[in-house]
C-alpha cells in the first residue's frame, strides 16, 4: 500500500481542462502555486469532493476517494475566509465534525474544548464567529478542520484574507500545526513567502497544467517559466537567529532588522539586492562577496545568479544598463548588498 496522496485528476472548466498529477507523502506539505485562474482551487475542490472530476483517481493511503461523496472522504478543508458557522460558538464549530462522526454532543464539545485549550484558544471557546478577529477566526477554522482527524488537509489561500501583521503571526502558527499534522497537506497560495516558509515541495500550475515541481529552493533557483520566476523569484536562506543576527549552516551571517530567536527563514526579493563591482564602503548593510554564475533577462531587467563565498546562491535583479556598467561576465567577482530592513524573517516550523 502506498501511503500519502497520489492523485491524478481531470476537471473540466469553461475555458480549459485541468489535468494534474499530484503526490504528497505523509507529513509533507505541497504548495500549489500559480496565477489567478490556473485551476489551483479547482484541484483542491476536486480533491475535497466539492467539484465533479471528469476522470482520474485520488488515492489516499491506498483508499480511492474519487468515487466517495465529500462527507466520506475524511479530508479537512480551510478556505480563505474562516467561514465559521455564525450561529455556533467557536467550540461548537470545532465540535461539528466530531458530532458528524457520531460523537454525542457532550463528548464532542469536550474534545473540541480540549483541542482549543491545547492551541491556546481556550478563552475564545464561547465566542461567536462575529466576536473573533480575522486571525482568531482562521485559527478556529483550522482547529475545526483538524478536529475530526482528517487523512488529508487542504488549505485554500488560508492567509490571504488577513492583514500583514496578523498574517505573519497566523503563518507561524500554521507552520507549527502543519508540522504536527501526520497526513499530507496541500496548500494553495499565490504568496511566494507562504510557499517558501510552509511547503516542503512546490507544484506550479499554469492553465491547468503542472509546469514545475521542486523544493522551494529549486524552484526559486531555476524557475521554469517567466511566471514562476516572478512568482517564486525570492531569495530564501535558512538559519538560526539570535537577536538580529542569523547564522546559516553554510557559515553565512546575515543582519536583520527585527530581533528573533531560533530557526528562521530569511526571505528577500532579488530587486532588494544591490550589486557592486567593488566592495561598497561605509554602510551598515549586509555586504556579501560572490561570483556570477548565470544571467537571464527577466521582465524589463536582468536576473543575476550569484554564488556567495559561503556557497549560498542569491538572485539579484538589476537593469540592463547596470549589467553593461558593471562589465559583468562569466565568473565575475562582485559584491552584493542587502539592507537589513529588506530581509523578511519568518519563524521556521516546529516548536520555537
Amino acid at each position: 500500500m502506498v501511503s500519502g496522496l497520489r492523485a491524478s485528476l481531470r476537471v473540466p472548466r469553461p475555458d480549459f481542462e485541468v489535468g494534474v498529477d499530484l503526490a504528497a507523502d505523509p507529513g509533507e506539505v505541497v504548495a500549489l502555486v500559480g496565477p489567478n485562474g490556473a485551476g489551483k482551487s479547482t484541484v483542491l475542490r476536486a480533491l475535497a469532493g466539492l467539484e465533479p472530476a471528469a476522470g482520474g483517481s485520488i488515492r489516499l493511503d491506498g483508499r480511492e476517494l474519487a468515487t466517495l461523496p465529500a462527507h466520506r472522504r475524511r479530508v479537512g478543508l480551510v478556505f480563505q475566509d474562516p467561514l465559521l458557522f455564525p450561529h455556533l460558538s467557536a467550540v461548537d464549530n470545532v465540535a461539528h465534525g466530531l458530532r458528524s462522526q457520531g460523537l454525542r454532543r457532550r463528548a464532542a464539545r469536550e474534545r473540541a474544548l480540549a483541542l482549543l485549550r491545547r492551541w491556546e484558544l481556550g478563552p475564545l471557546a464561547d465566542r461567536g464567529g462575529r466576536q473573533l478577529s480575522g486571525g482568531e477566526a482562521q485559527r478556529v477554522a483550522l482547529a475545526r478542520a483538524l478536529a475530526p482527524e482528517p487523512d488529508l488537509l487542504l488549505l485554500d489561500e488560508p492567509l490571504s484574507a488577513l492583514d500583514a501583521r496578523t498574517r505573519l503571526l497566523t503563518r507561524g502558527e500554521l507552520a507549527v500545526r502543519l508540522g504536527e499534522f501526520a497526513g499530507p497537506s496541500v496548500l494553495v497560495t499565490h504568496d511566494p513567502v507562504d510557499a517558501a516558509v510552509l511547503a516542503d515541495r512546490v507544484v506550479v500550475l499554469e492553465r491547468g497544467r503542472v509546469v514545475q515541481v521542486g523544493t522551494p529552493a529549486e524552484v526559486t533557483r531555476r524557475p521554469a517559466t517567466d511566471y514562476v520566476a516572478r512568482l517564486v523569484g525570492l531569495n530564501l536562506l535558512r538559519g538560526r537567529a539570535e537577536g538580529t543576527t542569523v547564522r546559516c549552516p553554510s557559515g553565512l551571517v546575515l543582519t536583520v532588522a527585527a530581533p528573533v530567536q531560533g530557526p528562521v527563514h530569511c526571505v528577500f526579493r532579488p530587486s532588494a539586492v544591490s550589486v557592486f563591482a567593488s566592495r561598497p564602503e561605509g554602510s551598515p548593510r549586509n555586504v556579501l562577496p560572490g561570483v556570477l554564475r548565470g544571467m537571464a533577462p527577466h521582465g524589463d531587467g536582468v536576473r543575476l545568479d550569484v554564488q556567495l563565498g559561503t556557497g549560498d546562491r542569491v538572485q539579484a535583479e538589476v537593469t540592463p544598463a547596470a549589467v553593461a556598467e558593471l562589465r559583468l561576465g562569466a565568473a565575475s567577482p562582485l559584491w552584493l548588498a542587502v539592507k537589513a530592513s529588506e530581509i523578511q524573517v519568518e519563524r521556521a516550523g516546529g516548536p520555537i
Binding site: H71, F79, F85, H87, L88, H96, G128
Partner: protein, 276 residues
C-alpha cells in the same frame, strides 16, 4: 506632478450640494403613499371602538376568530414543512429546472383567488380529478370542510414562504455547507445543523407573510370551502357577511385583521435583523 493635475483648493467643500428630488417624482410618490395609507386610516377612524368587546364577544365573531386562528396556524405549519424543502430545491446550485419551477410557484401569487378556488374544486370536488375517486372510495369529500379552508390557505400562502426562503438561500454563502460536508456531515446533517439555522430569519419572515396571507384569504376559501358558520366561515368571510347587516362589526373585525399581522410583523422585524 503631471501638468494636467489641478491642485486642490484649500478650504473648498469636497461634497457637492445634495440635489433636490424632481417634483414630479415627489408628487407621484406622495400620492402612492396616500393611496396606501388613507384607507387604513379610514378603517381605524370609522371603527366603533366602543363596541369592540361586544362585537368580539358575539358568537359569530368568536366562531370565525377561532376557525381563522386554527386554520391559518395549521396552514402555516404545512407551508413551512413543505415550502422550506421546495425553496432548498429551487436554490440548489446548478439546478436546471429551477427557472420553470419558480415560475410555477409564483402562479398562485398572480392568480385571482377565486380562480384558485375553482382550480381546487376541479381537483378535489366530488367529481374532481382526485376528489371523485376519493369520494367513490370513502364517501368523504374535501370541499366545504375546515380542511378545505386549510388547503386553500396553503395554496395561497406557500409562494410567499418559498420565495422568501429561496431569497435567503441565495444570499447564503454555500461554502458553509461545503465546509460542513468536508467535516463529515451528511446532506441531512448539514441541512439541519448548518443550513436551517442560517436560514431561520428567512423562514420566520416567510412564515409570517404566509400566515398573514392565510389569515386574510377570502376568494379561494368561499369558492372551495363555502361559508358555513363554525366550519368554514373565517374572519374575512364574516367581515363580508357583516357588511350587510352590521357594518360596525365588519369594521371592528377588519381592524383586527389588519392590526394583528401588523403587530406581529413589527415585533419580529427588530428581532431577525438584530440577530447575528
Amino acid at each position: 506632478m503631471r501638468p494636467d493635475r489641478v491642485p486642490a483648493g484649500r478650504g473648498t467643500p469636497l461634497r457637492p450640494p445634495r440635489e433636490r428630488a424632481p417634483w414630479p417624482l415627489l408628487a407621484a410618490a406622495g400620492l402612492a403613499l396616500l393611496w396606501l395609507t388613507v384607507p387604513l386610516l379610514g378603517l381605524v377612524a370609522r371603527a366603533p371602538w366602543a363596541r369592540l368587546g361586544e362585537v368580539l364577544g358575539s358568537t359569530p365573531a368568536r366562531q370565525a376568530l377561532a376557525l381563522s386562528a386554527g386554520t391559518a396556524g395549521l396552514a402555516t405549519v404545512v407551508v413551512v414543512l413543505l415550502g422550506v424543502p421546495l425553496a432548498w430545491l429551487l436554490a440548489r446550485p446548478r439546478s436546471r429546472a429551477a427557472g420553470w419551477l419558480r415560475a410555477l410557484v409564483t402562479v398562485p401569487l398572480i392568480l385571482p383567488p377565486v380562480v384558485g378556488g375553482v382550480a381546487l374544486l376541479s381537483v378535489w370536488g366530488r367529481s374532481g380529478l382526485l376528489g371523485g375517486p376519493l369520494h367513490d372510495l370513502t364517501g368523504w369529500a374535501l370541499p366545504f370542510t375546515p380542511w378545505a379552508v386549510v388547503v386553500a390557505q396553503v395554496f395561497v400562502g406557500l409562494p410567499f414562504l418559498v420565495l422568501s426562503v429561496e431569497g435567503s438561500l441565495r444570499a447564503l454563502d454555500r461554502r458553509h455547507e461545503e465546509v460542513s460536508a468536508t467535516l463529515g456531515a451528511t446532506g441531512w446533517q448539514t441541512f439541519t445543523r448548518v443550513t436551517l439555522p442560517l436560514l431561520a430569519p428567512g423562514v420566520l419572515a416567510g412564515a409570517v407573510l404566509a400566515w398573514a396571507r392565510a389569515l386574510g384569504e377570502f376568494g379561494a376559501t368561499i369558492t372551495f370551502a363555502g361559508n358555513f358558520p363554525g366550519t368554514t366561515r373565517t374572519v374575512p368571510l364574516q367581515v363580508y357577511l357583516s357588511l350587510e347587516d352590521d357594518p360596525g362589526a365588519a369594521l371592528v373585525l377588519s381592524v383586527l385583521l389588519m392590526g394583528v399581522p401588523l403587530v406581529v410583523l413589527l415585533l419580529l422585524r427588530g428581532r431577525w435583523t438584530a440577530r447575528w
